[in-house]
């Protein structure tokens, strides 16, 4: 890829153009450039001169970038509404994942442990084991998966840390303080619920900090890989 196209990719991603449109635009420009070079060579230019002429005909980086940036429908959702992409949507997805985990817990309790006072602390085997394990896996991994997703989206779209950081912090605090409750009602019905609480006081903030660092890792890795080298 010529240097101009690499610069164009960075310019477009930073301007909020959706990565799929950026990828396709660059692929089409590369093909177009190859056609222009071939045309200039057919017209009698040597390869280096043909390349220069073709790049000039294609347009400069800013001109090509502005043409794409001017099309509002080609912008990524995270650029159009970053507050939703990095705030509301991750929390809504996490809430949905917790709701699914609670549903698994409630149905598993009713199906596999109908006579028990609580679904916790029992040895299960076979299908019951896998069913409860799936629920537990969803419950524990949901904050990480949601956090990594927004972290990767932010990195792919060259978004500043200020947009995803509040979302990371919120996810980390929820993951560190969330608790599941299960109890039989006086009439014998199975009730499950979820809540937030600092069970170990401010010591709960340590796991929150760890979760924050873990979910921010993809963004930090991208930032470190693109940071200017000392002395370069």
């Amino acid at each position: 890829m010529p240097r101009q196209l690499h610069e164009l990719r960075e310019r477009l991603l930073r301007a909020g153009v959706a990565p799929r449109h950026v990828r396709r635009y660059l692929a089409e420009l590369s093909d177009h450039l190859a056609d222009l070079i071939a045309e200039e060579q057919r017209n009698g230019l040597a390869r280096p001169a043909a390349e220069s002429a073709a790049l000039a005909r294609l347009g400069d980086t800013e001109h090509l970038a502005q043409a794409m940036i001017r099309q509002p429908q080609l912008r990524a959702w995270s650029a159009r509404a970053p507050w939703a992409a990095f705030g509301l949507v991750p929390i809504a997805v996490l809430a949905a994942a917790y709701a699914a985990a609670l549903t698994i817990l409630w149905t598993g309790w009713n199906w596999f442990l109908p006579g028990m006072d609580s679904p916790f602390g029992h040895q299960t085997t076979g299908l019951a084991y896998y069913y409860f394990t799936a629920g537990r896996a969803l419950y524990y991994t949901a904050p990480l998966l949601v956090g990594w997703t927004i972290s990767i989206i932010a990195a792919r779209q060259r978004i500043s840390i200020w947009w995803p950081a509040p979302g990371f912090a919120l996810l980390a605090c929820i993951a560190a303080t969330v608790r599941v409750y299960a109890a039989r009602s006086p009439r014998g019905g199975a009730n499950v619920g979820i809540g937030l609480g600092l069970q170990n006081g401010y010591a709960s903030l340590v796991p929150a900090l760890i979760v924050f660092c873990v979910i921010a890792a993809p963004w930090i890795a991208w930032r470190m890989s693109t940071a200017p080298r000392v002395g370069s």
Binding site: R24, L55, L74
Partner: protein
């Protein structure tokens, strides 16, 4: 690298109209579209070679075009073709364009005739 000369305010909506018109008869890829505009307008309209793609992407997002990858003579290219909503859009744009050019033509013709008439009287 200098961009080609164009008149942005007069060119608003023109690339869209030209592209939809060209794609009415058969599918084409970007380079082919730019060459066709260049050739069929006797080089009167010069669209920046690279800026045709954002217009194509936007038209596809709006449902006016569809695209597919096709390999021809060993080269893989993205071909664009007109959809039914795209044909309706073309009809609207063409009607609008015809209306505007006809209005401008009337104004210019009257001005030229009026000017010549005024000169003749003087």
């Amino acid at each position: 690298m200098a961009p080609r000369d164009s008149n942005p305010s007069f060119m608003n909506g023109v690339p869209e109209l030209l592209i939809l018109t060209l794609l009415r008869s058969h599918e084409m890829y970007g380079y082919e579209i730019v060459q066709a505009i260049h050739d069929r307008t006797q080089q009167a309209i010069a669209i920046g070679e690279g800026v045709v793609y954002p217009v194509l992407h936007a038209l596809e997002e709006q449902g006016a075009l569809r695209s597919h990858r096709k390999t021809v003579a060993g080269r893989s290219r993205i071909y664009y073709s007109l959809t039914r909503p795209g044909a309706r859009r073309l009809a609207d744009l063409t009607a609008n364009w015809t209306h505007i050019t006809s209005a401008i033509q009337t104004l210019v013709t009257n001005y030229v005739i009026g000017g010549t008439h005024a000169q003749a009287i003087a």
